[in-house]
Symmetry: C2
């Protein structure tokens, strides 16, 4: 009888540890990534264990080795999945026939939504660069940092050419804007003191998008004449 | 003969591990804090060991227990020392007879200079809140988060009353401005790709202060009539 149960289920000490949002019909490698994303979103550090991931996904932790080599490989694959989604949206944005200011507005909303969906993003980037060795570090830079810098440069160049944005160093804007978008998720501990909520709600997220957009659009618009 | 050497020196495996910037004349507890600050500034995570701190300070690691109880106590004391300096400057700023916009400008420069001097600040806050238990968490909130929020509220209230700043939620500004100021130090790994330097130089710091100030002052100024 016990043999007919999947090995993964048999390993899980608590059946209720398996997430109901992880669809058992999708491919195992995707389920492992979904479980890791869920756990990282709940934790405040990159300290998920393979056994937690196995329990949450309802799969055997040996599959991590099979699909990703090791935990670092799994984390890098998760970041890659997020990066592809985010950078795909960024490419789409750059190709749109709208003003630079409008692109910036859409981008701010996109980046805050990405952190809302995957609040572990910057922590994961940080972890992979600091602990993951040269290869991870190089992969993360080419996945995230370089495309973002290129996009900021393109948007500012367009805005300056249109006369709508003031000339701004894209690299400095990259740091200040990403930092502004990320910090409310990174500094989750102060959300209770500052906003009276134990977590970022959809309503706070919307207010934050409006705030960061207002400050940055007003901050970067070329001053009107007269 | 060996007995005449200090215990600390005898323990240090490499004499050159002792920092030349740590003054042997100052009180031992301060030397331990200075050594910890130096090491945290060099590392990218909060992973300094008591033996490293002992080596760097030229003191016996048992003194950590004597002065601070344990490593968490030492880290909390270091944060307290930084907080007293920063919050003293903030009180002074609030009492100044200048416009709200001018206060904001001084504050942005002050906060970026604080991170430049102590790049570990936000990491340390994060670590103490996440790993330090309720007491540390409470201490950090009352040392940093609450005074900052109160200061932002006072500056915005003043600016709105003067008609110089637009009404802005101080809590949201706290997250976006602290995030903007901090991220270039937190995301040190992308400084090389973005700015072609392996670390934040005095010149980059000055450019960053000018950038964050320009974006935020323009972003928060009440629009001029006409």
């Amino acid at each position: 009888m016990a043999r007919s149960r999947s090995l993964a289920r048999a390993r899980g000490p608590r059946r209720e540890g398996v997430s109901r949002s992880i669809d058992p019909r999708v491919q195992s490698s995707e389920r492992l990534l979904d479980a890791t994303a869920e756990l990282l979103g709940e934790h405040s550090a990159i300290d998920v264990s393979l056994s937690e991931i196995a329990r949450r996904s309802g799969l055997n932790s040996a599959l991590v080795k099979y699909y990703f080599g090791n935990k670092e490989g799994l984390l890098l694959a998760l970041l890659k999945r997020d990066a592809e989604r985010a950078m795909g949206a960024l490419d789409h944005l750059l190709a749109m026939q709208v003003t630079a200011a409008h692109k910036l507005k859409i981008h701010i909303s996109g980046i805050i939504n990405a952190y809302f969906r995957s609040p572990y993003l910057n922590r994961l980037i940080h972890h992979l660069i600091e602990s993951g060795g040269q290869e991870s570090s190089r992969a993360v830079t080419s996945m995230f940092v370089e495309p973002m810098l290129a996009a900021y440069k393109a948007i500012i160049d367009q805005g300056v050419a249109e006369g709508s944005l003031r000339p701004t160093d894209p690299a400095l804007l990259y740091f200040s804007l990403v930092g502004a978008c990320d910090h409310i998720f990174h500094a989750a501990y102060s959300v209770r003191s500052a906003l009276g909520e134990t977590q970022i709600t959809e309503e706070i997220k919307q207010r934050y998008i409006a705030h960061v957009t207002e400050v940055h659009l007003n901050g970067l618009l070329a001053s009107r004449k007269g």
